[in-house]
Amino acid sequence: MLARLALAALLALAGAPARALPDPFPGTAAAYLVIVDGVPLWEHAADLRRAPASLAKLMTALLVLEDGGLDDEVVTSSAAAAARGSRLGLHAGDRVPVHGLLAAMLVGSANDACLALAERSGGTAAFVARMNARAPQLGLHATRFGDPCGFDADRQYTTARDLARLAQRFMAQPQLAALAGRKEVEVATAGREWVYRVKSTNVLLEHFPGAIGVKTGQTRRAGHNLIVLTERDGRRVLLVMLGARDRWWDAHAILARAYAR
């Protein structure tokens, strides 16, 4: 009898809709989620499907790290060299170590570096398949990738909640977390024929005291996306914003408010 009651209670709980968290910043983004010390605090449409833009590169980086061989050299293809948007400026034939490509992809959101990494692991289509296979294993049940670098693609989506999970997995990897917190990084081709200085696209690293990571994203379909992790006095605040109206001002204000509570 007791077991039956417990089962009924469990089923009732499972069926109950999640209680919405407060949304003190309506209109700042199509979706956002604020997590303080692992506990969700504020949200707006955190389960709304949105385009990830370059935040997809967090998953790409996780897979590249799992593959290992960070000192291997990758020869840049003409397709990678022709990548649009943010780019390192690689030319076809340039040989760059994997760790350099990883740095350029995470710090400068370089699409040529990203494509070079995906091509190295069996081509972009195979790589996207791996991303989608890995997503549910990481607890991303409302995410589907369509491009390793986050270019707008049909049937590609994620949510603020899934991206928070992905960011937490990503930042748990010391090598990736270190790169995601760099304001600037130097990337060189093999033999140092060419040396690039790459500035972070996450300007909060420079201007929000306590910002320690993670990544920006921007495409026509996604708008302005951002995941930022901050730490002050042992407290951690993670903010995910998708389709932000005024990404930097608002992120700064939301984070400040989270710490001022």
């Binding site: 910043f25 300007v203 005291p209 932000a244 005024d246 608002d250 204000a253 400040a256 001022a260």
Partner: protein
């Protein structure tokens, strides 16, 4: 003598008396229980050991206080009565009686007086039992040593309080270091002079006692116009383009700077400018009552917020996404013009 130091002396007497019992001697060691009762306050009891000369019917503590004098002391049979008059900054009068046998002592003492603007009426009930022998002379020497040590500790505490600008130690009827208030206020006045410049102000604010409302409290105690001091420092900071100082200490100037150089501007441009410190405060919502990027957005009308949400819902279905940066800047600038009245 202040009430605090008077009671400190009494406690010193009792503490030293406790040491005396193990030493033996020609005098009597008594186990004393004392209960103090005061109107409006819960009674407090404490026990102690007191060394008294043979036949003495009251502890020495009254005679330790040079401002207090016992009068009309009478002994009839085994009962002694007396009156006490204390002068000084906290005058009080009292009367007491003690009945003693060879090995017991019971009595009460009532003291009435004024502490600051408040009157008090305190009754102390004492009960003693003879516990053994002790040396009152040795105790007296120890009491003097303890009193000297207490005075040295108080002097040290006053010095440290002076260095830390702890106004509460110098200001008020019962302030432990009240005698040094003129010296303290001299120091506050001199420091306030240096605080008319940003560097001096910043440096002074590192002092524990001046942070928060501390400077204002010190100013009130010493007659220093702290608002004028801060005004001078802020003017100096503005003319010297010390924007971090303005951001930290000058809300009115910071609000004006924010309206002109942060509001409606691109975040990265504002943060790369010389006004970064002010813009950071502005972004955090610390400058002005309603300033701050998200605060501004949150302040927008509900209908506008709803229309934005609807527009974003369209984005999710594939329609053109975020508004242009120009639109956002224009919108932000309009909001801020309303806020700052420009």
């Amino acid at each position: 003598m202040h009430a605090a130091s008077r009671w400190a002396l009494v406690l010193a007497v009792l503490a030293v008396a406790a040491l005396a019992h193990a030493q033996g001697g020609p005098d009597e060691l008594w186990n004393m229980t004392t209960r103090m009762e005061m109107a409006g306050m819960p009674g407090q009891s404490f026990s102690s050991q007191v060394c008294m000369k043979k036949g003495q019917t009251q502890p020495d503590k009254m005679s330790q206080d040079k401002n207090c004098k016992a009068t009309e002391m009478r002994t009839v049979g085994n009962k002694t009565t007396w009156k006490v008059v204390c002068s000084g900054r906290e005058p009080m009068t009292g009367e007491g009686e003690v009945t003693r046998t060879r090995d017991s002592m019971d009595g009460r003492m009532r003291m009435q007086g004024k502490s600051g603007n408040e009157t008090f009426d305190m009754t102390t009930v004492i009960s003693g039992r003879l516990a053994g022998a002790c040396d009152a002379a040795q105790q007296s020497r120890q009491v003097q040593a303890a009193a000297a040590q207490g005075s040295a500790m108080l002097a040290q505490q006053c010095k440290e309080s002076m260095d830390k600008y702890l106004t509460v130690m110098f200001d008020g009827q019962s302030a432990p270091c009240g005698a040094q208030k003129p010296e303290y206020c001299g120091r506050v006045t001199k420091t306030a002079q240096s605080m008319r410049k940003p560097a001096g102000y910043r440096s002074a604010m590192k002092s524990e006692g001046l942070r928060g409302q501390g400077f204002e409290q010190a100013g009130q105690a010493c007659g220093v116009d702290t608002a004028a001091v801060l005004s001078d420092a802020c003017k100096s900071a503005s003319s010297g383009r010390d924007w971090p100082f303005v951001a930290d200490f000058c809300p009115a100037q910071a609000q004006a700077i924010a309206a002109e150089h942060c509001a409606g501007r691109k975040y990265t441009v504002a943060m790369a400018s010389e006004y970064k410190a002010v813009c950071q405060r502005y972004a955090s919502g610390d400058v002005g009552s309603d300033a701050g990027g998200a605060s501004s957005a949150a302040a927008k009308s509900q209908s506008q917020a709803q229309s934005q949400a609807q527009s974003q819902q369209k984005d999710a279905s594939g329609a053109p996404a975020a508004p242009s940066a120009t639109d956002v800047v224009k919108e932000g600038a309009n909001q801020l013009r309303k806020l700052f009245g420009r």
